[in-house]
């Protein structure tokens, strides 16, 4: 496949970033790049809206509240996402799925990461971001392909503009950088969302991706879900930076901290980040403070490394309960709407149960089919060997 690119792309750096920031926000470029003094939080854990001066905003870091329609659509996805997480964990317990890294407790991050993007944008998820991938519109059963233990990623990355989930950490951030770079060279206004966790910020590819994105001035949003643990290792063992968002300034990009269990604040911060990236302001780093309410995967025992009191503390900050009371108090969420949303979530759960209940027949010869575009004689030979064995097996029946 060949795309004949139009290389009349914008230059690889803004003429004068400092002037750009001064014109947009009236602050110095350093004040723009450094995160605001406090994390951005718009709604309290009890669902009440915080006053403007409590939201953590300051000049250059002020965010408009998202529209009611956007909040309602996001809330629906939040409910679906929670149901998906819990249904998948149940399927693993029933032995119908190999493994599931649940994002229970992080659904607000999942939903915001996907919903702030337009159709032509790209999303590069981690293995814990299945809910974000579904929110983007990928078929739920297809998303679970990897976790049911299949050999391929299930969905077509190009169709949905979503990278394939994978288990190596932060390697996908560089793929995000490449996708953004190619788009920019062709003069397209694609924005790329590159997701990772707190543990991943220690990897070399995290550093290389941020630096490349900044140097080439690419429209990439690095979204770090800081859920406090990399399997069992707490954040204090990953980094002693003032915050992960502070890492941004070292690369020459803007960083921001946001309450990762506050869907309103997340959407506000992410929407502005997408807008800035699309306008050519370069990459951004957003750190969301959240918590992995469950174990790393079903194979993990979280009680060995974290106190119950900490889990209880975060239980009180649950993103769903918070959003539900906020929308109810605003008069946006009627009982009728609540029921309709619950039905939608149940329908997706049913889809997962049915889809993952079916035994997918394996095709042994698929082993050889996709290794290369143009297969080698060696693989043809090996494929014929296996085909012969299969034929003999069939004949013996």
């Amino acid at each position: 496949m060949t795309i004949h690119a139009d290389h009349s792309a914008p230059e690889t750096a803004v003429e004068d970033p400092a002037a750009d920031v001064r014109a947009k926000f009236g602050i110095s470029v350093e004040d723009y790049m450094l995160p605001a003094r406090h994390q951005i939080q718009m709604v309290n854990p009890d669902g009440t809206l915080r006053s403007r001066d409590e939201q953590g905003t300051e000049p250059g870091h002020e965010y408009p509240t998202p529209s009611d329609a956007e909040l309602m659509a996001a809330y629906e996805q939040l409910v679906v996402g929670r149901r998906v997480n819990d249904q998948n964990s149940a399927l693993v317990r029933q032995g119908r799925m190999a493994v599931y890294p649940s994002s229970h407790g992080q659904e607000a991050c999942q939903v915001a990461a996907a919903m702030c993007l337009s159709e032509g944008d790209w999303l590069f998820p981690t293995y814990r971001d299945a809910v974000a991938v579904m929110t983007r519109g990928v078929d739920p059963v297809e998303v679970m392909t990897i976790f049911r233990g299949d050999w391929h990623g299930g969905y077509d990355p190009k169709e949905h503009k979503v990278g394939i989930q994978c288990t190596p950490l932060t390697t996908q951030l560089l793929h995000a950088v490449g996708v953004a770079h190619a788009a920019k060279l062709r003069g397209e206004d694609t924005v790329v969302m590159a997701m990772c966790g707190d543990g991943a910020t220690s990897e070399g590819d995290f550093h290389e991706a941020l630096n490349f994105a900044a140097v080439f001035h690419l429209p990439v949003i690095f979204f770090v879900q800081n859920n406090k643990y990399a399997i069992s290792v707490p954040l204090s063992h990953q980094s002693v930076a003032p915050s992960l968002a502070h890492k941004a300034v070292g690369y020459g990009m803007a960083g921001e901290r946001v309450d990762g269990n506050d869907l309103v604040a997340l959407l506000a911060v992410m929407d502005r980040a997408v807008k800035l990236a699309r306008e050519g302001s370069g990459p951004l780093l957003i750190e969301a403070h959240t918590y992995r309410m469950q174990a790393h995967t079903n194979a993990d025992d979280a009680t060995r490394y974290r106190p119950d009191s900490e889990v209880a503390e975060w239980q009180a900050k649950d993103p769903l309960a918070r959003m539900k009371s906020y929308l109810t108090d605003k008069g946006l969420l009627s009982d009728e709407a609540s029921n309709r949303i619950a039905e939608h979530a149940e329908a997706v759960a049913t889809q997962l149960r049915e889809g993952l209940g079916e035994d997918v027949p394996v095709q042994p010869l698929d082993l050889f089919k996709y290794v290369f575009s143009k297969p080698t004689p060696q693989l043809k030979e090996q494929s014929e060997l296996l085909a012969g064995e299969l034929a003999r097996e069939e004949g013996a029946k």
Partner: protein
Amino acid sequence: MTITTSVNGNVSAATASAAASAAATAEASGPQSLTMAKALNTAMADAMRVDSSVLVFGEDVGMLGGVFRITDGLMAEFGEQRCFDTPLAESGIVGMAVGMAINGMRPVIEMQFDAFAYPAFEQIVSHVAKMHNRTKGKLKMPMVIRVPYAGGIGGVEHHCDSSESYYAHTAGLKVYTPATVADGYRMLREAIDSDDPVMFMEPKKLYWSKDQVDLGALRAEHDAGTSTEGRAAVARPGTDATLIAYGPSVPTALAAAAAAAEEGRSLEVIDVRTLVPFDDETVCASVRKTGRAVVIAEAHGFASVSSEIVARVQERTFHYLAAPVLRVTGFDVPFPSPKLEHYYLPSVDRILDAVDDLQWED
């Protein structure tokens, strides 16, 4: 040909003259004396002219034209959008290339030196090699990773590794290694055209080797779709024994065959050309004909491409063999310093000694 001014508006005199010389090479017709470096450079320039999705990037490939000058003049001709320097980070270079390949580009990236590619190993093995398989063929990885490799240039440590076995052992990568100037052009054009990722191993000691090459004929050959993938070449015909070599060892094998001819022994030399896919047919046909074989490689012998070749040959030609298949390879030691490299590298004498050991009846 016009020289496009680079983004920052300063095309140096050196870059301008490089572009002019590239144009002169491009326009020359009939056989001309060309180095391997120039053949590779011309292959990239030709590919970039016909397909705007071909991009060249890496460390020092822009203004400098690469530390070996293989990308000389490309930035001047095609601009900084299509030939550019990256920050100094190999995993970043390869990882970004993966994303660009996903999004419609055909990256041709330079790893500068064999041993400097190791930081990119994870991207190469886990993503470049597997992306097509993991996505059931939905995503192709049309990229070329150029690796100047092997010794013979008196390089300092970490500059002379033979790393081809790491890549050949990885399912999903094709591995090419040209040994002649014409193959340099042919194989790089083919690698760039390929929808599969190609590890393009360039024997750095052959960069300055010269040959009479007709670029016009090579271009016509390319346009006609002639392929060298999986096709070994008979570099020198012979009847008594077969020398199987690739990349930097091909000229050594040819020199050994020339020396043997003076002693009345006719050695056939096979240039493997592509390690993956491997041309069992040509290699084994030669061994069946001669009944004797020596495999020559600069890399360490243990668990290497040369081991694989020996295994494949004896599996397929056992009843034709008059003697065990022998090997002449580098020792299983870290690549030595310039003063010692001569003892390490497969030499004409060592090859002839191995040939003498092939259980001749006379």
